[in-house]
Structure formats: structure tokens, C-alpha cells
């Protein structure tokens, strides 16, 4: 196996390990953390952002899993 192919497989393995079978959840979590950081920089409380994101992401992920 060539070095390039091994590197590609390693990248895929890390992606599969971290992201799992629903990449939208991983993107959603990253966005929610970024929004939390942005809100935390203002005078508004930021603790509620991630709980709301969890409800939205879980509901959306369940809906897609049921459709398939």
C-alpha cells in the first residue's frame, strides 16, 4: 500500500472515529460551541445555547434516522 493511500485511510479512520455516522451532528456541535463563545462575549447569558442545540440536534438526527 502506498504512503498516500495509508495517509488517506488514516484520515478516514480519524474522521470516522470522531464524526461517526452523522456528520451533521458534529458540524452542529461545532457551530453551537462557536455561538456560545460569541454570546458569552456579550452581556447576555450564554449557558442556554448548548442545551437548546442538544434538543435541536437530537430531534433532527432522530428524524433523519427514522426516515432511513
Amino acid at each position: 500500500m502506498s504512503a498516500r493511500k495509508r495517509a488517506a485511510l488514516a484520515v478516514f479512520a480519524v474522521w470516522d472515529f470522531v464524526v461517526g455516522d452523522d456528520w451533521r451532528v458534529a458540524i452542529g456541535v461545532a457551530v453551537a460551541i462557536a455561538v456560545t463563545a460569541l454570546v458569552a462575549d456579550t452581556s447576555v447569558a450564554a449557558w442556554w445555547v448548548l442545551p437548546v442545540a442538544v434538543v435541536v440536534l437530537l430531534t433532527d438526527s432522530l428524524r433523519r434516522a427514522m426516515r432511513h
Binding site: 461517526g20 458569552a40 450564554a46 449557558w47 432522530l62
Partner: protein, 253 residues
């Protein structure tokens, strides 16, 4: 021991106890559902890394960007936790596909991995989760010892109180291991999904700069709230499935 020293010891004991319980919860969760040996390897590796960091940095440890670490660990736990929770909810509500080839392949692959784990093979998932949880909480314990201890000019006493708190929590964890083994696997996986998602929410929020109402005590609200939401979702999905089955039966009748 003076009243001030007693106050320092009690404060450090309680604060470090809370951090140790958080780390223990994560280790028990992945150990009971996936691989005890890999989770314990994760604990050992995190302890070694922590010891090296403390030895190398000493009091300069408090300059480490703990917020960045919290965001990384919290984000990863959230991604893992949400996927565990989705699968656990689908399984508990009876909606997990039976005649889907992808699902059958995934189940066979999981069965193969489970067999490998039973034979003591290394499980990267358990190792990583335990490693990150213990490293993050261990760093927080070190911060508490250094900041509380330095304030009172008694880092030694603070360190003894921290070690005592960790010892008590570890003993409690060893005692909890046997009863955990008797809990049905699906229920455990459901609980692990809730735990990973709750801790991920808490640490991710803290790392991003959010201040939780009540500090660490917020976890005592996040965990039951997520459990209630998940159980309510299972009940809703079960009712929907039963109604669809009823309609299908009346159509065929």
C-alpha cells in the same frame, strides 16, 4: 490544625471530590459498556501525562489554556453522546431497523467488536474518552490545589486533601463496578448517552465562556432534564409506532 487549615482542607476535599466524581462517571460509563481494560489504560495514560505536566510546569500550570481543553473535550463528548443517545432512543422505542442491510452489517460489525473487546482487545473509543475525562478533571484538581493552597500558603495540605478526596471517590467507583455489571446493556448504553451528552454540554459551555447557574451543580439539573427528555421521546416514538402498526393491521384486515 488551625481553623483556617481545616477550612482549606475541607474546601479542597469537596472541590476535588466533585471533579473526581465527574471523571469517575465517565470512566464507569465507558468501562461498563465497552472495555474496562482500555478505559483503565486511558486512566493510567492520563495520570502519567498529568504527572509529567505538573512536574514540568509546577505553579506555572495555572497559565495553561484550560478553556481550550474544555471546548475540545466537551465538543467530542457531545458528538459521541448525541450519537449514542440517538441509537439508544431508537433501540428503546423499538424503531431500530431490522431488515436494513446497513443496519445488519453495522450490528454484525458491532458484534465482532464486542467479541474482540470480550477477549481483551484494545478499544480506542474507551481509551480516548477515559483519557480525556481524567486528564481534564485531573488538571482542574491540580488548579484547585495550587490556587487554594497558594492563597493559604499551604500547598502541601491542599495536596493531601485532594489525594484523600480522589481516594474516597476511587473506592466508591470500585464498589459500584459489580452492581453496574448486572444492569441490562441497553439501559447502560442509554445512561451512557445521557452522561456523555450532559458532560459534553457542561464542559463545552464552560470552555466557550458560558457561566452555568450554580456552577458544577448545574450538572445535577442537566442530567435529569436530558433523561426526562429522552424518556419522553422514547414514549412518543413508541406511541407513534403502535398507532402506525394499528393502522397497517386495519388496512390488511
Amino acid at each position: 490544625m488551625s481553623g483556617q487549615q481545616l477550612g482549606l482542607a475541607v474546601a479542597v476535599f469537596l472541590a476535588c471530590g466533585v471533579e473526581a466524581v465527574e471523571a469517575l462517571t465517565i470512566v464507569l460509563a465507558v468501562g461498563a459498556t465497552r472495555s474496562w481494560s482500555s478505559a483503565l489504560w486511558g486512566v493510567g495514560a492520563a495520570t502519567a501525562v498529568l504527572a509529567a505536566i505538573v512536574a514540568a510546569l509546577g505553579p506555572a500550570l495555572t497559565a495553561l489554556p484550560i478553556g481550550v481543553l474544555r471546548v475540545a473535550v466537551g465538543g467530542l463528548l457531545l458528538v459521541f453522546g448525541l450519537q449514542w443517545l440517538r441509537k439508544a432512543i431508537l433501540r428503546a422505542s423499538g424503531l431500530k431497523a431490522v431488515h436494513d442491510e446497513e443496519a445488519i452489517f453495522a450490528e454484525e460489525a458491532e458484534a465482532a467488536r464486542a467479541t474482540a473487546r470480550a477477549k481483551g482487545a484494545f478499544d480506542g473509543y474507551s481509551f480516548t474518552i477515559a483519557f480525556k475525562g481524567v486528564l481534564l478533571e485531573g488538571l482542574e484538581v491540580a488548579f484547585i490545589v495550587l490556587t487554594f493552597g497558594a492563597n493559604q500558603h499551604d500547598v502541601g495540605l491542599a495536596a493531601v486533601a485532594a489525594v484523600a478526596a480522589i481516594a474516597v471517590v476511587v473506592l466508591a467507583g470500585v464498589a459500584a463496578r459489580a452492581p453496574l455489571a448486572r444492569v441490562p446493556e441497553n439501559n447502560l448504553k442509554f445512561a451512557v448517552g445521557i452522561m456523555l451528552t450532559s458532560f459534553g454540554t457542561f464542559w463545552g459551555g464552560e470552555g466557550a465562556g458560558a457561566h452555568w447557574p450554580g456552577g458544577d451543580a448545574a450538572l445535577l439539573a442537566i442530567i435529569p432534564a436530558l433523561a426526562v427528555l429522552s424518556l419522553a421521546t422514547v414514549a412518543l416514538l413508541r406511541r407513534g409506532a403502535a398507532e402506525r402498526a394499528g393502522v397497517a393491521e386495519s388496512v390488511h384486515a
